[in-house]
């Protein structure tokens, strides 16, 4: 009887630390659920005993990262870093820490008007006979249209992403993109750069002029010349209005001036190799500060791209474009090209020493990892892949002082993984965005 009681007592004593730990975890998890308001003082964290891929040097085998107020305070080997007393310690042995991944081209958080049923003849006629809505959006700030969704953010987190660029997706002059940190569902709190760049697409899906590809090129050239003229006119008028008629206000051209004259970044969407050449000709003609996106046929124009020294945002979408010879010899050839030829695009660019970032443009989060693995299998070193999702996009976005690597003073965008990043079975277990922690540990782990 005594013995039994003793045993029972011992068991109880043994339970104490477990209960305490549970309490800590519970408080921690409940802390997670309530997204802290931006004016709250953020807690300090110390991630200890993890393998750290800083991207600014050799990986640290066993290191500590101290996060305070959304920024990285210190990072280094465990023995060299003193954990501040107020920091909440997160034991991360067996886990890998990487900078949060950046996808520099997405269409996230945009409302898609889904047509569930084909229009009736009446609806079609009405739509056809109404004057067409404007189809150009040079002054559109996509920031104003985004509606962040928790589910999307979480699925991006689980794929390792902490930062995305949201790109508008209608028209030729599509509008201006925004760079977001996936830290909440509050757009204002998410903004890293607003606006980032003007986006152009060689589209022909229109009812009005221009409705052909050559028309689109001519339209872009005319608008860029018009902008140059408009800016010159304004400048002359502002310096002296005497004997000079004032320029007629033009919101379209007004929106383009910063990009055409002040050389803010312009991003061309290039859906095939000829789009890349078309964009390069325009960049050359107008001396634009350009970036090309899409570019899954960049491997076919590597020579020209190398000479042009223009940064690329390369999608991991390997479907051959419709113009490609591989799309015009039957479905079997197209499928073969998708699985055996196009995945080598990033590897080819790497071998040619062309700077590029990888993006999820046109992909679902689930196909991202699969396609990235295919690109690595086709010859892209995993290290280069990691750079193309961290350091490179940060540099292209002009955010390399605050993003892309784990260094003191930079934004605390960190992912913790179980296993090497990009391995099939690897899981992202924790994500820090602006120091805000999101936990994705599955039950039973």
């Amino acid at each position: 009887m005594d013995r039994q009681l003793k045993l029972h007592k011992q068991g109880f004593n043994r339970m104490i630390p477990v209960v305490l730990l549970l309490a800590v975890i519970l408080s921690f998890v409940s802390g997670l659920r309530a997204t802290p308001a931006s004016d709250e003082v953020k807690p300090a964290y110390a991630l200890v005993n993890c393998r750290i891929y800083t991207m600014s040097g050799q990986p640290i085998e066993k290191g500590t990262i101290v996060i305070r107020d959304g920024l990285i305070e210190t990072v280094g080997p465990v023995e060299k870093i003193t954990v501040p007393p107020d920091a909440e310690v997160i034991e991360a042995s067996g886990l890998n820490a990487y900078p949060g991944l950046i996808s520099a081209h997405t269409n996230l958080f945009l409302e898609v008007k889904e047509q569930t049923q084909p229009p009736s003849p009446e609806e079609f006629l009405t739509a056809y006979t109404q004057p067409s809505e404007p189809q150009e959006f040079p002054d559109l700030l996509i920031f104003k249209e985004i509606k962040p969704k928790k589910q999307t953010i979480e699925s991006y987190h689980k794929a390792g992403f902490t930062t995305v660029v949201v790109v508008p997706n209608r028209g030729i002059f599509q509008g201006q993109s925004v760079v977001l940190n996936l830290n909440s569902e509050n757009p204002n709190q998410m903004v890293l750069k607003q606006p980032w760049a003007l986006h152009l697409n060689f589209t022909t899906e229109r009812g009005l002029y221009p409705s052909s590809l050559m028309g689109t090129v001519a339209f872009i050239r005319q608008k860029l010349y018009d902008t140059q003229h408009y800016a010159l006119h304004l400048q002359k008028y502002n310096s002296s209005p005497l004997f000079l008629k004032r320029p007629e206000y033009d919101p379209f051209l007004e929106a383009l001036v910063p990009f055409v004259v002040e050389k803010k970044p312009v991003v061309f969407q290039c859906n095939n190799q000829e789009d890349i050449k078309r964009a390069l000709r325009l960049v050359n003609e107008f001396r634009l500060n350009a970036i090309l996106t899409g570019c899954n046929e960049a491997w076919r124009v590597a020579g020209q791209l190398k000479a042009a020294k223009i940064p690329l945002l390369v999608t991991l979408d390997f479907r051959p474009p419709t113009t490609s010879i591989y799309s015009q010899q039957g479905e079997a050839t197209r499928k073969k090209a998708e699985t055996e030829i196009y995945p080598a695009n990033p590897a080819t660019l790497f071998k040619e020493k062309i700077n590029f970032a990888l993006t999820t443009f046109g992909l679902s989060e689930s196909s991202f990892l699969k396609n990235l693995q295919a690109a690595i299998k086709a010859g892209l070193p995993a290290e280069a892949a990691l750079k193309a999702l961290t350091v490179e996009p940060a540099r292209i976005l002009g955010l390399d002082k605050q993003l892309g690597s784990l260094e003191p003073g930079k934004i605390a965008n960190i992912i913790l993984t179980k296993g090497e990043l990009f391995d099939e079975k690897t899981k992202v277990v924790r994500v820090f965005v602006d120091g805000i922690v999101f936990s994705y540990e599955e039950k039973g782990q």
Binding site: G207, Y209, S212, G215, R221, L244, Q329
Partner: protein, 442 residues
């Protein structure tokens, strides 16, 4: 055991991948000989210097070096045994729309600002189709939806080469015009509420072209005035250059003689109107396209020095083609007009030699007929100093035919551009045979 199976699988995978890639690329891979060839024992139809039976052609660096009999080649030159087959200059199609990602900017009537050189697609399989019919060069054009279309481009059909290497820079820069039914949209069903696009009549087409050319004149005057003021001793303060207008700038280039008009027209009256317009504004017409009623106005065409680019005998497919006659090409040739036969199609392009051959039925000799798709076409495109005949010094664009190319029984066996073989029927058939017997091939 499982390791060996894995290895076998791996080898199998690698083999199939390799084969698949090989056959995919084989169809795009010309048999490059570095531009050096000796074609032996051919019936050479030089087009400009008669026929050389049992003749040889020596090509060095893509240029025809020697034409004659029993020629010797430098060591390492690729030898092609013609065995008495017929060698002709590469066929030139003066009017087609292949190798482009777009045909018409049809939303507006006046669109000279668009340039087909912006939308070349070197992956278009029609290029290969054309090569199988001995075609080596095309004038690929804006469509005929607009009175003033766009700037056209001349390409060599170098299958597998990047688009920029296809462009023939020496060719005339040409601007597409169009008249008649396509322009006035007479065959289009209008939906209620949609206005008819102006112009809707032949008078309208003429008027709108005239109006745009007048605008171009004003535009030129604006720039002249600006340049004059800018270069004057005391330029006015706050002088602003005129706005660049790409549409009017193209038309100004036409008026300055830097561009040549190519006008789609069917009936005699609209062609006369356009000749008058050219005279009034002083621009040059390269050729009328289709020109079914050219036979009615040969005196006027001769006087203006304007050629025609036509079909041989597919008339009466619409109202304005009703008075076309199959003797048009032959008759106009006999009257001294520069005539070429065109395909206007990615399919008919592979039997242009058959189309030209039909001209023999309508009164031309074989020698005259073959000119319709070679030297005449080269003259119309301004490249007759480079191609269009088999002469020493010209580019080695050649086609080898099994029979006389104007015969109904002939077929093209080999097509060569600048000394490189881009199509070889035997080779292609062998590759297909190999692909069909080996597993994993396509």
């Amino acid at each position: 055991m499982s390791a060996s199976v894995n290895r076998l699988n791996k080898i199998h995978f690698m083999l199939t991948t390799f084969l698949a890639l090989y056959f995919l690329l084989a169809s795009k891979q010309a048999l490059f000989a570095g531009g050096n060839l000796l074609i032996k024992n051919a019936n050479i139809l030089t087009v400009t210097n008669g026929v050389i039976p049992h003749g040889d052609v020596l090509v060095v660096n893509g240029i025809i070096k020697q034409v004659g009999q029993n020629l010797a080649a430098p060591p390492g030159t690729k030898i092609i045994e013609a065995n008495g087959r017929y060698l002709i200059p590469g066929i030139i199609d003066t009017h087609t729309h292949i190798a482009l990602s777009g045909t018409n900017e049809g939303t507006e009537a006046i669109t000279p600002e668009v340039n087909m050189a912006d939308v070349i697609n070197a992956d278009d399989p029609s290029i290969f189709t054309a090569l199988t019919g001995g075609v080596t060069m095309v004038h690929t054009m804006h469509g005929s939806a607009n009175p003033i279309g766009g700037i056209n481009v001349v390409l060599k059909l170098k299958w597998g080469k990047p688009s920029e290497e296809l462009i023939v820079k020496e060719a005339y820069p040409t601007l597409k015009f169009a008249l008649g039914e396509n322009v006035k949209q007479s065959n289009r069903t209008l939906l209620p509420g949609r206005p008819q696009r102006y112009p809707a009549t032949r008078m309208g087409a003429n008027a709108i072209i005239r109006r745009e050319l007048l605008k171009a004149r004003d535009y030129m005057a604006q720039w002249d005035r600006y340049n004059q003021l800018k270069n004057s001793k005391n330029p006015p303060k706050n002088l602003l250059p005129p706005r660049r207008n790409l549409r009017l700038e193209t038309l100004a280039d036409l008026l300055r003689g830097k561009l040549i008009a190519r006008c789609h027209a069917y009936v005699a009256t609209e062609m006369i109107e356009f000749l008058n317009l050219a005279k009034e504004f002083g621009f040059k017409i390269g050729a009328f396209e289709h020109a079914w009623e050219a036979y009615k106005i040969t005196d006027e065409l001769l006087k203006a020095g304007v050629g025609i680019s036509v079909f041989i005998d597919s008339w009466a497919y619409k109202m304005e083609a009703a008075e076309g006659i199959a003797y048009n090409a032959a008759y106009c040739t006999k009257r001294g007009i520069l005539v070429s036969i065109n395909s206007d199609s990615g399919e008919r392009i592979r039997r242009l030699f058959n189309e030209a051959g039909k001209a023999v039925k309508y009164g031309l000799t074989q020698d005259e007929a073959i000119k319709l798709i070679t030297i005449n076409a080269a003259k119309q495109l301004g490249v007759d100093h480079l191609v269009g005949s088999i002469e020493v010094g010209k580019q080695a664009d050649l086609a080898l035919f099994s029979e006389h190319p104007m015969s109904a029984y002939t077929r093209c066996d080999m097509t060569i551009i600048e000394g490189e073989v881009y199509f070889d029927r035997d080779q292609l058939l062998k590759e297909r045979e190999a692909a069909s017997t080996k597993k994993g091939g396509i």
